[in-house]
């Protein structure tokens, strides 16, 4: 038993025991919180050990009848185990007081949370197709149970749960078919056997396996066009669960893709990775566009997850392209960028969802149009969300800035190095990344500025209060992680590079300044941050010295001399996004509705004007609605088969017997 094995075993054991304890102990919230933290910490330890080279293999043939289970932990798996564990730690602390709400205190809901963490931790540790699939599906099951936890309160929860259940099952089947086709060729379902047999696969079979796996994993990662569940399930789940799903679970889609694409199939032809790259680029742009239009705080965060996973897939796709053209240096760089983005995204998305949960906890609403003015009453939450928003919008000194910089470096150096396909793909990818970055800035300025600053636009927002201390502590953990990743990414880079070895060579070195290995490029986020701080402090000093009038006067807002400004005059999230919505009118196709009510005395006098905007998911409308309609039609038609008439039923049998006898006579 080495550290990795012990840690993983502890994580599983603690998680399961916590779940059992939650069923019997009265003080459930605290027990589950502490248990989740311990389980997450153990997983983190195991993951870090695995990234530093400690590894183990354990076979459990008695589990999962007919298949058996096999677990191992290598650097790639270790990275994802560690990320999941870290998210679980923050979520566990946060959950201690967050789950005191009546719906969340229920025994079953409490018990499922640690099990969900355990399932997620086990997915990257699975070393056989059977073990992988069972952990994958367990993760889906537990997350589904958690998503519907608050079904009593909002009717949308049930609908979100349905979408989630069906989409996740669809993804699972896709992965299942892909892996089973692979297993059928390999003869054994352990990953090592698959790895060995990958060389003997025909290109067609390998392609089929890859595409099916890609579809399944993409649906888990919320990649367009399989994202439809994500902006439903993530907002409707309790916020700490949203954080776990959005920061840890979706990552496993990326894990699966890297595992199957690079590790098991050993890379592949250019078109695989072009497909990944294009899917990633489309998701990134589409996700952030939807988020930019969104007025629901948590839905916005969910859509931003689609965006970030899209960026990760751009990195993974680029890594594959480089690897397939034999450039291991750049492949390593691109994959490191992608994985660093995974880690960074986990940190800031945890923070953002936890902060959003805190807002929801205090105000009961997620509608940005009704929030605002939270800064004076919820200072810590506001600061946390602000930090998260900075991290998410790829601005320095933010978390996503470093990973996007690395990603763009890979894309830039890739252009002269690779073939025609890359020459077309790279500029478009850069454009997509750039467009995403710009829109992300606008989105998070909206979320933070409209949601937290200014004045409260509803009674709920005005009556908000700061959350209990454990919730703040949970956010604090995530905030520290964000800050560390933003300023000193070198802390995690060795582990990420170890994980990225499946595709390429080490890519980045240096503690203060990140220097690329093999290609030129250097960036020092910490110096950048330091320079900014020094500049701000120096400026403040200079202004203090130079400005002669030292007194600050408080004055009423400039309201053009008229009556006091009312919150109704503020810009809302809807109005903030209006110019962008006009610009991207053709892409998002919003539904606008203006209702003008006239005075009774005269129709020339307007009493009220109501403006409503809905931005329906266009892909959903084009892709899902027809399928759903088709299925519904099939159901309608199918009813004709079962009319209830015995004659008819006997007729089926009679004709079948006749037909079969005829067939037997003919084919003799």
């Amino acid at each position: 038993m080495n550290l990795a094995a012990t840690g993983l075993a502890c994580a599983v054991a603690i998680g399961v025991l916590t779940a059992l304890a939650a069923l019997v102990v009265p003080a459930r919230s605290a027990v589950v919180g502490v248990g989740t933290v311990l389980s997450g910490a153990a997983a983190m330890l195991a993951g870090c050990a695995a990234m530093s080279g400690v590894s183990f293999v354990v076979a459990l043939p008695a589990l999962l009848p007919l298949s058996g289970m096999l677990f191992t932990l290598d650097a790639l798996g270790g990275l994802f185990v560690a990320v999941t564990g870290a998210v679980a730690v923050a979520v566990g602390v946060y959950g201690i007081s967050y789950t005191r709400a009546p719906d969340l205190r229920a025994r079953g809901v409490q018990a499922v949370l640690p099990l969900f963490v355990v399932a997620m931790v086990l997915v990257p540790a699975a070393a056989s197709a059977g073990a992988f699939l069972v952990c994958w599906e367990l993760m889906a099951l537990f997350s589904l149970l958690l998503v519907v936890a608050e079904h009593r309160r909002r009717p949308e929860v049930a609908s979100a749960g349905r979408w989630y259940a069906v989409m996740t099952h669809l993804g699972f089947l896709s992965v299942l078919i892909g892996l089973m086709v692979f297993v059928a060729r390999a003869g054994d379902d352990s990953f090592s056997a698959l790895r060995d047999s990958a060389r003997h696969l025909s290109p067609l079979v390998a392609g089929v396996v890859f595409v099916l796996a890609l579809l399944g994993f993409a649906s888990k990662a919320g990649i367009v066009p399989l994202h439809a569940w994500l902006p439903r399930a993530h907002p409707e789940a309790p916020s700490h669960v949203s954080a776990l799903m959005s920061a840890a679970m979706v990552n496993l889609g990326v894990y699966g893709l890297v595992r199957v694409g690079f590790d098991l199939l050993g890379g592949g032809p250019v078109w695989w990775w072009l497909l990944v790259l294009v899917l990633g680029a489309v998701s990134a742009v589409y996700g952030i566009l939807q988020a930019a239009m969104s007025t629901d705080l948590k839905r916005l965060l969910g859509q931003s997850t689609t965006e970030n996973m899209g960026l990760v897939l751009v990195g993974v796709g680029a890594a594959g392209l480089f690897a397939s053209s034999g450039n291991r240096t750049l492949a390593g760089l691109a994959l490191v960028a992608a994985l660093l983005h995974v880690v960074g995204h986990a940190a800031f998305k945890t923070l953002l969802f936890l902060a959003a949960g805190s807002v929801l906890h205090a105000t009961g609403t997620r509608d940005l149009d009704e929030l605002g003015g939270l800064r004076p009453v919820m200072p810590v939450t506001t600061a946390a969300f602000g930090l998260g928003a900075l991290a998410a919008s790829a601005l320095p000194p933010g978390t996503a800035f470093v990973s996007e910089w690395l990603l763009l470096q890979a894309l830039i150096h890739g252009l002269p190095a690779s073939g025609v396909a890359a020459a077309v793909a790279m500029p478009v990818a850069v454009a997509a990344v750039a467009l995403t970055a710009g829109l992300a800035v606008a989105t998070f300025v909206k979320a933070f500025g409209v949601g937290f600053l200014a004045k409260p636009r509803s009674a709920a927002a005005a009556g908000a209060h700061e959350s209990p201390v454990t919730m703040l502590a949970g956010m604090g953990i995530a905030a520290v992680a964000c800050a560390v990743l933003a300023l000193a990414p070198a802390v995690v880079l060795p582990g990420i590079e170890a994980a990225a070895r499946v595709a390429g060579d080490p890519a980045v070195s240096g503690a203060v300044t990140l220097r690329l290995t093999g290609v030129t490029g250097a960036l020092s986020p910490v110096l950048l941050g330091l320079a900014l701080i020094v500049a701000v402090v120096a400026l403040a000093g200079v202004v203090r010295v130079v400005a002669t009038h030292r007194v600050r006067r408080e004055a009423r807002l400039w309201d053009c001399g008229g009556g006091p400004m009312s919150p109704r005059m503020e810009y809302t999230a809807t109005s903030f996004a209006e110019p962008l919505q006009r610009v991207f009118d053709d892409v998002v196709q919003p539904e606008l509705d203006v209702d003008v009510t006239h005075h009774e005395e005269s129709r020339y006098l307007v009493r009220a004007v109501e403006y409503r905007r809905k931005v329906p998911d266009r892909i959903e409308r084009r892709l899902y609605q027809p399928v759903l309609r088709f299925v519904a039609t099939c159901g309608e038609r199918g009813r004709v088969l079962a009319t209830g008439s015995v004659h008819r039923y006997l007729g089926y049998g009679f004709y079948t017997v006749c037909g079969l006898l005829l067939l037997l006579a003919v084919t003799r």
């Binding site: 009038h549 006067r553 004055a555 009423r556 400039w558 001399g561």
Partner: protein, 161 residues
């Protein structure tokens, strides 16, 4: 575009040569401004005659800007309020608020006879008073309406240029 260029070339400089600087009875607060005055114009109830003249004062011919005066949109950015017209009841409170919104040191210029002493509207039922009744006035520019030269002259007293 070419036509515009030709026009620019043929017309040349429109601004008249600057007259002599006015007598130095600069309001005390204006000294701190040192050649830069941002102005917020407030129409407190004017007949718009003064506005027309203010427009010309900042037009190319009189070019008030050359002395360091500039019209701005927000009283927060302003150093001086340029108030025209009598102060009507509805504008009294907004005028006070505008004055309050200006950061110190600040000045008020009453432009035109109505602003100075209600002019022909004195005693009318809708009038709250002259500008001086509502906010402290630092400089008065007489005339109904005052000539652009007089306005520029007043502005130059503020900028000291």
């Amino acid at each position: 575009m070419l036509r515009l260029w030709r026009k620019i070339r043929t017309v040349g400089r429109v601004a008249e040569p600057a007259p002599l600087p006015p007598a130095t009875d600069q309001p005390p607060a204006a000294a701190a401004l040192a050649g830069s005055v941002q102005i917020r114009h407030v129409d407190a109830g004017s007949c718009n005659g003064c506005e027309v003249e203010i427009g010309s004062a900042f037009g190319p011919v009189y070019d008030g800007e050359r002395y360091g005066a500039r019209l701005v949109a927000s009283p927060r950015h302003a150093d001086a309020l340029l108030v025209t017209g009598v102060v009507t009841r509805n504008m009294a409170e907004p005028l006070r608020r505008t004055f309050e919104a200006v950061p110190a040191p600040k000045l008020v210029v009453a432009v035109g006879d109505c602003a100075r002493n209600c002019g022909v509207f004195a005693g009318a039922y809708g009038v709250a008073g002259a500008v001086g009744d509502i906010v402290p006035v630092d400089l008065e520019i007489a005339g109904c309406p005052p000539r652009p030269e007089a306005i520029v002259d007043g502005l130059r007293k503020l900028t000291g240029r």
